[in-house]
């Protein structure tokens, strides 16, 4: 079937400026169903802006963004539809501090999908078990460690049963000893066949999970290749400089 080969995310000529700063310059990107992509690059290179355009947390100035056959425009219904299908995990977790862990995860299924509360909570509990944090369900986010909070945030996004998961530097705000517990959860998600677009500097994760690694600089995708090729033989000077800084010697 041709649907299977059609990319689930398609960006064409996407540009975005914040005032006089151009964050994205004419970016093209196709992501296939079930594909796992890691985006890396120096800060200010536009990687966060790029994935935030995919669920329209940022509005692109030019070009087209098509997600699962729906083009993102000002049409609010299209945006709502896409946001239900695209989950997102943030660097700062952004859990809702006034709700318990269970309420955080059950909120969207209950209010957006209109599931009865009991059913939404049952589904939430399943996702919390999946990220191995079911025993913390009654606590408030503020009582959890960073790694635990980030796993709750992943469960919260998964609870909407998204087709695509976006990760915006999910381990950058974590203490080093907590990075692994979050990466392990992401790894399992990848094995389960989820389409993932991950902005991260965790090159180990990129190597073991990604099918394609993208390097961005100054709002452009400078280079993209499968991880083996990307790490062994980077083509551009900028990529080599960057890798020299982030890879452990």
């Amino acid at each position: 079937m041709s649907v299977q080969t059609e990319p689930i995310i398609r960006l064409r000529g996407v540009s975005k400026s914040f005032g006089r700063f151009q964050a994205l310059r004419d970016v093209d990107l196709d992501v296939g169903r079930g594909e796992r992509i890691v985006i890396c690059g120096p800060s200010g290179s536009g990687k966060s802006t790029l994935i935030r355009c995919i669920n329209r947390l940022e509005e692109h100035d030019a070009g087209t963004v098509v997600v699962d056959g729906v083009e993102l425009t000002e049409d609010l219904r299209a945006i709502d539809k896409i946001r239900r299908e695209v989950g997102m995990v943030f660097q700062q977790f952004n859990l809702f501090p006034h709700l318990t862990v269970l309420e955080n995860v059950a909120l969207a299924p209950h209010t957006v999908l209109k599931l009865p509360l009991a059913e939404a909570e049952k589904r939430a509990m399943q996702q919390l078990e999946r990220v191995r944090i079911g025993d913390q369900a009654a606590k408030h986010p503020g009582q959890l460690s960073g790694g635990q909070q980030q796993r709750v945030a992943i469960a919260r996004a998964l609870c909407m049963q998204p087709r695509i998961m976006l990760f915006d530097e999910p381990t950058s705000a974590l203490d080093p000893e907590m990075v692994k517990e979050v990466l392990d959860v992401m790894l399992e998600l990848a094995r389960a066949g989820m389409t993932m677009v991950v902005v991260t500097h965790e090159m180990g994760f990129a190597r073991s999970v990604a099918e394609r690694v993208l390097f961005m600089d100054a709002g452009r995708i400078v280079e993209q290749a499968p991880p083996a090729e990307f790490f062994a033989a980077p083509k551009s000077e900028r990529t080599r400089d960057f890798l020299a800084k982030v890879l452990p010697r």
Partner: protein, 366 residues
């Protein structure tokens, strides 16, 4: 010369406590002695004035004989019904009593977050209707009493209850409007808040009671009382709006983004994510505003309505009791004070009850 060693201090006991807390160092010892002397002078006199020397009977001659060296509570004893119920017909005063008790009970019920359900709005509508019926009468065997004769505590309670409860939702809407992405909503809300904040309440009350009747269409029979209720609500909402806006601005952008990424719409985000956090953050300044709303109700005397302070002035107008205004004002001040203290204690309870998550978060960080 060598400094003498400090006397060894016994840890326990009254003497030890006194030494530690009242005579810990020379400055604190001086302060203790001065304050002690002031209290020793003031407390017996205050007790004598308010209690032991005071006259409690409504005995005019005995009161005059005191020469204001002690309180004449006889004035309050004789005039308490005039102070509490204003010019309301004397033999019908059970009606304002019951009506006021109803509204107060409703206020107390509304104080519990557990009861913040949709039906409480209907309950308020019913209670207000019963209040108006009991006060105004004119059916079911109750004689008609013109709103011009309503006064005292019922008026103060009604104005406070309506202005407080109605200005909260309006204030929240205005705050959301000022932060809206829709230019029209933003302009309207900002203009409204700036206009209303730029005008003194007295002016608003004058306009509501003397100018509005001239410009309102004839077919719209809004009583003077209704106009004053609406005016106070609109006035207080502008102040509450700014308080709420402060809370909204304190929330990080990530909260909005997380809600958006989950597919929550604007109102779902506000109701479930933003307002529950923002409103808890602003409880202290919120209560500040509500307390001044309560105090502001006494300004309605300028448009010839006799609230609690207004009807006190009526009582003081009796030539037989002229001169006992201090007792009268203390009595009314006592009512205001107890109400405000209750509201303030309530707000602390509410902060603990609703803000438990914030406290636990702070504790976990510490």
């Amino acid at each position: 010369m060598s400094e003498p060693l400090p006397t060894p201090v016994r840890k326990g006991g009254v003497a030890g406590w006194l030494r530690r807390n009242l005579f810990g160092n020379p400055a604190s010892a001086v302060a203790t002695v001065l304050l002690g002397a002031a209290l020793a002078w003031a407390v017996p006199r205050a007790l004598h004035w308010t209690l032991t020397g005071a006259v409690f009977r409504a005995d005019e001659a005995a009161c005059r004989a005191l020469g204001h060296h002690a309180a004449c509570w006889g004035f309050v004893a004789e005039k308490h019904r005039l102070i509490l119920f204003g010019r309301y017909p004397y033999e019908e005063q059970w009606r304002p009593l019951v009506a006021t008790a109803l509204v107060l009970a409703m206020l107390v019920a509304t104080a519990f977050p557990r009861l913040w359900r949709r039906w409480i709005l209907s309950a308020w509508a019913v209670v207000l209707a019963v209040f108006l019926f009991l006060m105004g009468g004119g059916a079911l065997g109750l004689s008609r009493v013109d709103p011009g004769e309503w006064g005292g505590l019922p008026l103060t309670v009604l104005l406070t209850a309506v202005a407080m409860t109605a200005s909260i939702p309006l204030g929240v809407l205005l705050a959301l409007g000022r932060r809206s992405t829709l230019p029209l909503a933003r302009t309207l809300a900002s203009t409204y808040v700036e206009l209303v904040r730029g005008v003194p309440l007295i002016t608003v009350l004058f306009v509501a009671s003397f100018v509005f009747p001239l410009i309102l269409p004839q077919g719209l029979p809004l009583s003077g009382l209704a106009r004053i209720c609406i005016a106070m609500t609109l006035f207080e909402a502008a102040y509450l709006a700014e308080v709420v806006r402060g809370g909204l601005q304190a929330l990080p952008r990530g909260q909005y983004e997380a809600a958006a990424s989950l597919g929550l719409g604007y109102w779902q985000t506000q109701r479930r994510v933003i307002l529950p956090q923002a409103l808890v953050l602003v409880i202290p300044s919120f209560v500040n505003s509500l307390l001044s709303t309560f105090m502001d109700t006494s300004l309605v005397t300028v448009v010839s309505m006799y609230d609690l302070t207004g009807s006190l002035r009526l009582a003081l107008g009796d030539p037989r009791w002229r001169g006992f205004f201090l007792e009268g004002y203390l009595f009314v001040a006592g009512i205001y004070f107890v109400s405000c203290l209750a509201l303030s204690r309530y707000s602390q309870w509410l902060e603990r009850r609703l803000g438990g998550w914030a406290r636990r978060t702070r504790e976990a960080r510490a």
